[in-house]
Structures are given as C-alpha cells and as structure tokens.
Symmetry: C2
Amino acid sequence: MQCVKVLGGVLGAAALLGLGIILGHFAIPKGTDLPAPSASASQDLDLEILEAVMGQLDADRIRENLRELSKEPHLATSPRDEVLVQLLLRRWQDPESGLDSAGTSEYEVLLSFPSQKQPNRVDVVGPAGGILFSSQRSEENLTGEQGDPNVVPPYAAYAPPGTPQGLLVYANRGSEEDFMELYQQGIKLQDSIVLTRYGGVGRRAKAVNAAKYGVSGVLVYTDPADINDGKSLPNETFPHSWGLPPSGVERGSYFEYFGDPLTPYLPANPSSFRLDSDNASGFPPIPTQPIGFKDAEVLLCNLQGASAPAAWQGALGCDYKLGPGFRSDGIFPAGSQVNVSVYNRLELRNSSNVLGIIRGAVEPDRYVLYGNHRDSWVHGAVDPSSGTAVLLELSRVLGTLLKKGTWRPRRSIVFASWGAEEFGLIGSTEFTEESFSKLQERAVAYINVDISVFANATLRAQGTPPVQSVIFSAAKQIRAPGPSSLSIYDNWIRYSNRSSPVYGLVPSLGTLGAGSDYAPFIHFLGISSMDIAYTYDRGKTSARIYPTYHTAFDTFDYVDKFVDPGFSSHQAVARTVGSVLLRLSDSLFLPLNVSDYSETLRSLLQAAQQDLGGLLEQHNISLGPLVTAVEKFEEAATVLGQHISALQKGTPDPLQVRMLNDQLMLLERTFLNSRAFPEERYYSHVLWAPRTGSVATFPGLSNACSKAMNTGPRSAAWAEVQRQLSILVVALEGAAATLRPVADLW
Amino acid sequence: MQCVKVLGGVLGAAALLGLGIILGHFAIPKGTDLPAPSASASQDLDLEILEAVMGQLDADRIRENLRELSKEPHLATSPRDEVLVQLLLRRWQDPESGLDSAGTSEYEVLLSFPSQKQPNRVDVVGPAGGILFSSQRSEENLTGEQGDPNVVPPYAAYAPPGTPQGLLVYANRGSEEDFMELYQQGIKLQDSIVLTRYGGVGRRAKAVNAAKYGVSGVLVYTDPADINDGKSLPNETFPHSWGLPPSGVERGSYFEYFGDPLTPYLPANPSSFRLDSDNASGFPPIPTQPIGFKDAEVLLCNLQGASAPAAWQGALGCDYKLGPGFRSDGIFPAGSQVNVSVYNRLELRNSSNVLGIIRGAVEPDRYVLYGNHRDSWVHGAVDPSSGTAVLLELSRVLGTLLKKGTWRPRRSIVFASWGAEEFGLIGSTEFTEESFSKLQERAVAYINVDISVFANATLRAQGTPPVQSVIFSAAKQIRAPGPSSLSIYDNWIRYSNRSSPVYGLVPSLGTLGAGSDYAPFIHFLGISSMDIAYTYDRGKTSARIYPTYHTAFDTFDYVDKFVDPGFSSHQAVARTVGSVLLRLSDSLFLPLNVSDYSETLRSLLQAAQQDLGGLLEQHNISLGPLVTAVEKFEEAATVLGQHISALQKGTPDPLQVRMLNDQLMLLERTFLNSRAFPEERYYSHVLWAPRTGSVATFPGLSNACSKAMNTGPRSAAWAEVQRQLSILVVALEGAAATLRPVADLW
C-alpha cells in the first residue's frame, strides 16, 4: 500500500447497537455437487453458488497463503518477487483449482534503490569534522527476519543522491504552514537539514516545501505519538505488542505521480518512448532519508532554540525545540551539524503483472477486475500479502467450482497481481495505459484489496457511489468476525456511519484517493472502483496506520499474533469481496446503483452553494447551470431506477438488459474529461480529482476558487473558475444523458 | 461546404469499361403494403424494404425541396435560416411522413459579419489621395437573385477590421513558398498589400504567411484558370454556362479551427465559459478581403515589375507581374496604392441544429447519424441545399414507412441539420462537444452529405476504411444516372480507382479532411464517418470546385440548368445514402468491414519503411514495434472476419452479435488519443490527423520526422518522433486488442 493518509474520511460515530440478525450459515461441505452451469442469456446470480463460495473460503488457507507470500522480502523486481510471480501463475494454472488462463506481462520501469556499496547514512558531525553519531543503517534484528540480507535498508525512493550538511531544524510535518511558522519565527532555514515526522502531507511534499526555503536535506521519522499511541519503549513494541519498535523505519516512494516516471500515458514496454530521467518530473528536489524514532530522539531531544508549538510536540519524552543546531548542554558540541548522505540510484527494471481470467459464459466481453499488488518493501505480510492471501483463496474457491464444471460466471472475471505498486502504482498504471481502449469499452468495475486487514474491528470500504449498494448487500449477508453475531454491515455501522437523506443511517463509504492500485482505474479510466479492508476501532488507537507499515517488522508473525490471530478478519474480507465479485460478475442486472450518485452530487452542490455561492455571486458567476445539471441527473437516475424495477418484475429481453447494463457500466466514464486538469497527471474524473481547495465541493471548482479568491475580477484565475464550472456542467449533463432513455431526443 | 481542397486524393484513372450488370429495378409503386415490422432480436436488413426505399426516392421531390431551400439567402442565424429550421421541424414532425421525434438545439456562437453601415471596400488611391478605382461591393445582378437585399456582400469571415494601404504585390496563392519566392526576388513586402488567388493553401494561411513578411493587407480572388477552365467572358459564364461570372466572389471562413471560436471543447451554451475574443486564436492576423476576377484583372494587369513565374500566371489575359505597385503606362499613375478597408465585426448569435430521430426497434441505443448543414453563404443551392434536399427526401420516404407501421429500423437513426457550418463546422462541433459521452458510447457511424451533386459524372465517397464495403455494397445495386446502364459502382470505378492488394481494382475511397461536418465526428469522437456526393469528370474540367461556390450565383436555376438537370444525380446520391443508411441501421451484423483497415495500415507502414526507414535507422529508431503492431492488427482482423463468417452461417445468439458489433463499432474509437497532438484542436485520431510532413505515412510520424530532420540527434524534435511512434504503436495494439476474442488474456 502506497499511502499518504490511509485513514480519515470514513470514521463515523461508533454506537452500541442491539443484536443483529444472525446470518451466514456457511455449512455446505466442500465438494458438494451443485447444478451444472447453464449459459442462457438470462443467467443470473445463483444464491446457492454464492453460499457455497462463502462457505468454502477458508481462514487456514488464507493463513498458509500469507505465510508463503511473506516468507522472504519481495521488493519489486527482486528474485523473490519473481518467485511469487511463478507461485501466482502456478496457482492460477492449476488443473484442479485454476482459472481459464493466466499469464504475465512485463514492463521496463524506472525504480529507485539505495546503493549497496555506499549505504545511505545520517551523521552528526562535530565542529572539528569528526562523526559524533550515526543513524542505524538497518532495523534491529528482533525476530530474525530483520537480519535477512534481502531486507532493503530504509530509504526514500526517488530522493536524489547528495550529501548535504547543515544545522538541524525541527519542522514538524513539513507542511507549507510548518515552514511558514519556522520562517515567521526567524529560524534560518537556508542550507539547513530539517527533521520532519511522517503524516499530515505526502512524503514528497515535505521535501518540496523544504526546498522552497533553501533547506538542503530532509529527514523523516515516525513519532510514537502518531503510530504507537505514544508508546516508545522496546518492551512496549513489537515483538511484545503490535507497536513500532524504536528502530523501525517507514520506507516509501517519494515520487509525486503514479505510473512509471519515464513513460507517462504510455505503457513502459521496452520499445516505448522514454523521457530522459533529467526531464522526468515528480521526484523530490533534495536528498531525503527516513530514520527510526530511536535515532530521531537523539537528534530531536538535543536541539536548541525555542520550544516547538504544542501541536508539534510528540512522544519522544523531551520538549521538542526548533533548532537550528544542537544545544550546548546536550550530547553534541555546539555547532555540530547533521550530514545526510543519500546514494540512491535510478534503475530500469523489469516488473511483472500476473493476470488470470475466468471467461464469462454469457457476456465474456464484460470484465469485473479484482486485483492487488504483489511487491512489498520488506516481507510485507500486511502490506500487501494480507490482500494477496485473500485473492489467492478466492481464486482457488472460484477456480475449483469452475474446473468442476459447477459454475461459470455470466461475465468475465480478471484477477490481477500488480508489480511495483510501492514505487507508485506502477504495474497497474502501465496496465491501464496499455489496455486503455479495451478497459474503457468493457470494464464493469475494479475491486482492490491491498492490505486486507489493518485490524479486527470493522469493515472499511472506499469507492464511488455506484458500488455502495453492492458492498452493502454483501456485508448484510456475512457474519462479522469475532464473538458478536452481527452481520458485517451491522457491525460496520456501529463504527462508521452517516445519515443518508435517502436511506437514513448507513455505514460510511469512503472516497478513493490514490493510495493503491485502484487509482488509475478510477481517475484515468473512469471505471467504478472500490477498496475493501478490515480495520481499527478508532476508539482504541489513533495510529496513522498499522505500526509496522513499510518496515522490516511487517512479518507473518506480526499478523498471526497481533493483527488477526485466527485470520477471521481475513476470512470476512474474503467473503465480502467474494460476494461483491460474484454479484458483479453474475447478476443479470448489474448491481451498480447509479442513483446513489445523486446523493453525492447534491451534497457537493450544497457545499458549493453554501460556501462558495456568495463569493461567486460577487463575481457574477451563477451556480444556476450547475443546479440544473444536478437536477437533470437526479431525474434521469430516478427514472432509470424505475425502469430497472419494472424490467426486473417481468422477463426482460437479454438485449434490453444489456442496453441498460451498458448505461450503468458507462456512467462512471461520462465524468472523465482529459482536458479538465492539465497539470494533474492521469486525473480526469471531474468528481474525484485531488482537492486542494478548502471547500469540500467539486474539486475543479474548489481548487479554482481557492486560487482565484485573492485575484482581481478579470484575472485568468477567475476565468479558470468559469471554465471548471462549465466542464462540470457538461460532464453532469452528459452523465444525465447516458442515464436517460436511450432513444430520447437530444 | 467549408472547403480548402475539395478535390484531390480520390482521382484515379478513368477507363472505358464494358457493360455492367443492370441493377435497380425500382418499380414498386408508392404505398405498396409491406409486411409489418417484427421487433425480434434477430431483425436483419429487409431487402424488400430496401428496394421500396430505392423506388420511392423521387427526383422531382428533391428538386422541389431544393427550390424551397434555396429560394432566399439563408446565411447562418439569418431570419431565413430560422425559417428553414421551422421547415425542417415541420417535415420531421409531419404525422404522415415524419420521424418519431424532432427538435432543435441552440448554441450561442461567435460569428463574423461585414458591417452594414460601412461596406468593406478595395480602392486604388492615387498619389494625390484621390480614389481612382473601387472594387464592386456586390456581385452583378445577372438573374435577379443577386439583387436580394439579404445577399451578404463578399467578405472574409473572421478577418480583422482595418484599413491598410500600400503598394500592391502579386503573391500567387499566398503559400509559404510563394512568399519565399517574392522575398528571394527582392520584392519589398513590408507594408504592402498582396493580391493572392484562391487554392493551394487554406484561406487563413494566405494571411498568416503574408503577415510574417510584414504585409498589411490581403486580397484574394478566383482566377478563371482555376475555376472556369480559363473562360472569363460574361457570355462564357453563368447564366450562359456553369462558369463563374467576372463579378462572382467566393466568400468563406478564414478561421483556422472548427467549432465555436470562444468555446473550444465546450458546447456553446449561453452559460458556458467563453474566452475573451482577444484570447481566442485562429483568426487571420491582418485585414483580408476577397474580390471577383473582374476587379482582380484591373489590379493585376496593371502591375509593374518582373513577370511572375510561369506557374503563377493565370487566365486574365495579361502577363502577371509581381509589383510592387502599378506600371506607369497602365491606367493608374505611378505610386498609386491599394487601400483595403475591412469593417468586419464579431457577433454572438444563436445558431440552431435540428435533430430528428427514428427510434430503433431492437437496439435503440445504437445510433446511425446522417446529417448536413443548413446554412449557406448566399442562396446556397448547391452548397448545402443539394444535400439537404436529399436529406429531406430520404427522411420523407423512411418517415412514411415508419408512420405506416411498415418498418422500424433495428437501430436508431438520427437525422441532423447543422447550423453555422460555413463559419467553421460550428453546429456539428458544438453537438459533439455537448453529446461527447453518449456519442462515444453509442454511435455506429456518421454519414455526411453536404453538396450532394457537384456534377453528373460519378460517385465520390470519402470515409474511413470500415465504411468502404457498405458504400460498395450500396453502389453495386443502384443504377448510375444518365444513359449508361452501369451500376453506380461500375461507373465509379471508371473514373476513380486503385488496385487493392485484397480486392483487385476497386473505386477509390477518399480520406476525410475537415471540409464538412464529418470532421468533429471522425477526428474528435472517433466515429466511423463518410461523405458522399456525385461529382465531375476530371477529364472535362480542372475547376477547383464548382464555379459558383460561395457566390450569389449558386442558385436553384444554376443547379436546375447546369449542375443536374432532371436531378437524376441527386436521386442517385439519395439512393446510395439511403442504402448505406438502411444497411447500417438494419443489418443484424454491422456492415463495417474493419479488416479493410489492414490494407490502409499496411500501406501507411510501407510508406514509413520506404521513405523514413533509413532516416530513422540513422537515429537508432526502429520501426520494428510498428511492424509488429500492424501485424497484430492484421491477424486480429482476419480472425475476427472468420468468426463473423462462421456466425453468419448459423443462427447466432443476439448477445453474441451485439458483442461482435460492439467490437466493430468501437474499433474506430481505439485510434483516438487526446494527448497525441496537443497543438491541434480536436484532432485526436492518430491515423487521420492533418499531415504536414512530406511522407504520406501516419501523420504524427510524418510530421514529427519533417520537423526533426534538420535537428541534432538529441533534440526535442527527435524525442517527439519517438513519442509519436509509441503513441501509434499503443493505438494499433489497442485496436488489435479490441478486435481479438473478447476473453483473450491480456
């Protein structure tokens, strides 16, 4: 999982509820003979098959998958990564439990690695030039796995090489506001080294913001306050708990975009046009290196200067000062500097995707895709193997039904194991670039399960509105793991909910950012997408993410002992995803409830009216056309819903159903505009592009208003507001047109 | 018709052939009862219906349509244009012969008109400042129609206002080469007025090229050598023949792009974001005015200086000199200058499209579109009313069958009457911008018939390869007009043919430029498109286009007497288009022969290999991946063709046919890449974008090679060659993927 902010957005109130319905009596023994599949045009979801699949998804097998997948470090393109490619291929080609076909596709992509000969290092250099302190080059070997020679030392992928040296300054999270604060306090930043902590802003942003102030090098660490609920002692952390050990270091990609850096919009085939790496953009501007909090403590707790603001303080057990430089009564002599030596290098490497297909019986040209990445930073038990372990179990169960001749889905199912996600969703992005047309024509939905289990409290799902209903349907019919007898749905609603004007209280579906491989599918291709996992009780931890994220402590034992003992949460995710996948691939009518977009559009519109209406009015910009467009969408969606209900009551003609399903499938595509955000690579979806503006409304409008706000009335920035508004109106009108009766006059 | 070069490209050898097969016994009387339509999923083309339609298409009714349509000038957005909107609506809403529904859509678009108060003028000003000669402000009233107060005086639409004055220089066609020649001959161009003749390069290009040399004003005329086969006397021209009278002036749009100039990529709705007209691009840089050859003769035959090169000479009966300025022994005193006074102004106007729909019985969500523009420069009998007269007759015949309950097509048919085409394909472009998603999802093909009859010799068709076969099928079954008993196809092959590696000798299908409303459909949306007309015997005339093009002499009588007496060519076009339309809308299997793209790709590839291979090799750029991609396409197309043949022999499942038809329909879309040509507005089709490079191969590659040729090996221009090659390879691989079996593994 490539992650800036995994959490946030979906955390609602957790309310104690009464008993839910007891569901999910998955008692059908393996091997039960089910009726042979019929390939009639009216083939619909078979609840017996669904129940069989639910029953056959096996927690122990998921556990064994995970053990195998996380046995060794499998950094993208490493030998072990290739071993896992073969493992996936073997599984998907198994004559008893495999798919119709499986294969690999390879791309030549630009990755970044630390030098083996010259390890990256962080030193404190005394006034006389002697090295007074050096950061740990690797994590402590607490469980044996950390000593594996294939553990990649901590580094900031794509950070440029360099050996800057200067006085140390503490810069909190390295946000624009943080540097502004330092600047206003008169802290000299020019030629300094800044120490920042993970969180708040993206990895690369810390270096970008720093470089604007003349900073020459950046350190990044994880504060125990942000990851361990404050705990920092060795005996409070892994292997004694799930906490991050003091030597643990979060690796990560510091690349701004996603996809191969040298081949934007083109698949990274060997013959493809490549930018010179000098012309590639999106890398951090200055050397950057992550360190553990044990090392950070030594640096931070010896700083001089004013105390950092209260919000900047952490859990390292000292008062965090700002610097610059170390205090004279600390362990380093006054004038000591910090040297950051980064020897990362860029390398073209071959990275593989593995793809497996179950051919649809009735509509083989409609694809339901389900994928996860394969590469990890180290052993990657949670990230991404917890997802792949589920993927393999689900493909085994479905493959077995297939090979027995018991079942063949109505539509085709595509399983995918993406390469090089950790470097920036590279495998999945190259795939979407290569298969752009085919996917735009035929993809029904993309399901992503990266980290399948963060923790055992509740389901967490992110997606665009049309997938809400199918996830809810699945979640209602599966029992939540653990002692409660609630359904996953009823458990979920206790942890995270919202009040829907249409449905009343429902679980909160989160929105899709760019944290995993769904990003190119939704943002670049406009394919309805979702990401599913089991996650925390936010009443019990405020950790940014699970503590050993991207460290050498994310191992099988970590999962087995602390994350999901018994693997019942893994099983719950497998069932949820299995049910969603079967519903999407087998239902006669696609279970994409497009009218759920009405609620989203109305709420984005209301935010625009409330928080931007006055400002826009002052500039003679009317929201009227946007209001009309939203109304048109709502009306078209309502009428279409009625049409579907009517059809479902009769015995609809297969072509009628196909036409209707095409409307449902293609709706998400209508929100794409490749010219809407020329500065945003791949982002074309006018509803889900990144929002930097302060108002939580349509991103193009919000961002443009933020930029225009302090400009004159005839500025280019105000013209851009109007352009964004028009782009939005055209997209919504186009979406409504796609939903209206297909022979309606223009 | 908005036209730079209407002819060219499709002119093959005309060979005398023996007798063809006698076809087209269209003897079914009007009103014959045909069987009632069956809306079964297997509904296929009904040859009886086809024959009935052929028989009912009536030359006299086309003639009456034309008389009504061309009765008065109907410049875009003029009151008469609105009258015709109502006429079309009435016809399409007629209870006996109308369509299922009809309506209008209005756009607020930027047009350019001459001032009524201050007429544009071209004067010769003597050394003392007196006006010695003035050009005609309007065409001579030879037949009564030219005196209509609604005749718009000749002007260059979108040329900026201004009153430049200077010595006159003759600049041939105003091409880059022409100005280079003048420059090399030492002719002073700075502050001059240049006289150019139509043809060779686009209208605006003359002004753009001139402005680069400091020219301050441009005159454009039509030389009798280029339009009248040399004839220039009043009694040799209309109304005595079809020739252009000496006072005739070609009007036209001098706008570079197509679509509304202020709303690129957005529909020009009243609320849409608009560029400031100062920020709009694509207008001519300097005042420009067209004049007749009678006026041009006075100017040109009095020039002094060296004789123009032989290729620059025309048919005005004097030796064309270059200038600058007039010869002292001519009718103007030495030092006389030419003053060009242009008072054009830009205006936002409401322009309407009229749309009519016949709802498909089986697949209402598949659209076959058939359109033409409605607006003319003056009476517009040939351009565009000859096309609209055919459109109305075909919609009447089909509407009558529909209203009688005799027939309903399998797919929906959309009839369109576009507004403001003459200003730059504005109505059709705005339509494609507004309906982008719906059309991309559902449009099967776009048929354009603008000028339906240029002359009576032969069919002329332009289109992308998949439409070749359906046009051939139609043309083979209809008798050519005139005394011969050949089919349209057999007649066509005599005038224009090529040797196909697959089929042997076949008529030449021309390629689509941007001369009429098909442009946004093919270039922007990737919808297989075609343009159909009857045209000249190139052995009999070398006219650039029909002589009264865009003048006040393009009247009903002109057509009735000279272009198509008896209207049998109009009828032939109506039958051809009717047959194509019915085949596309009614055939169970879409009659789009995608494998005809193989031949095109192979020939473009061969040109690249032959004419660029060496150059590319020198720069270490391999055509290998392109060769492979073309081979993959060929193979996929062949296999798909076999699959179709096999299916056609059995009784295929309706869903199977639908899936296959989706492949055929969507193939053209796979060639789009919105990022391929960032400097070309709307052009996204990687095979049919404008080619400026000298090698007749894939346009992106050809253009990039032309630019790179004289740059260093590591230039950005060579990187662009590689980028274009990759874009092409990805598109072709994507196209092949769309044609391959739909459940094939990636």
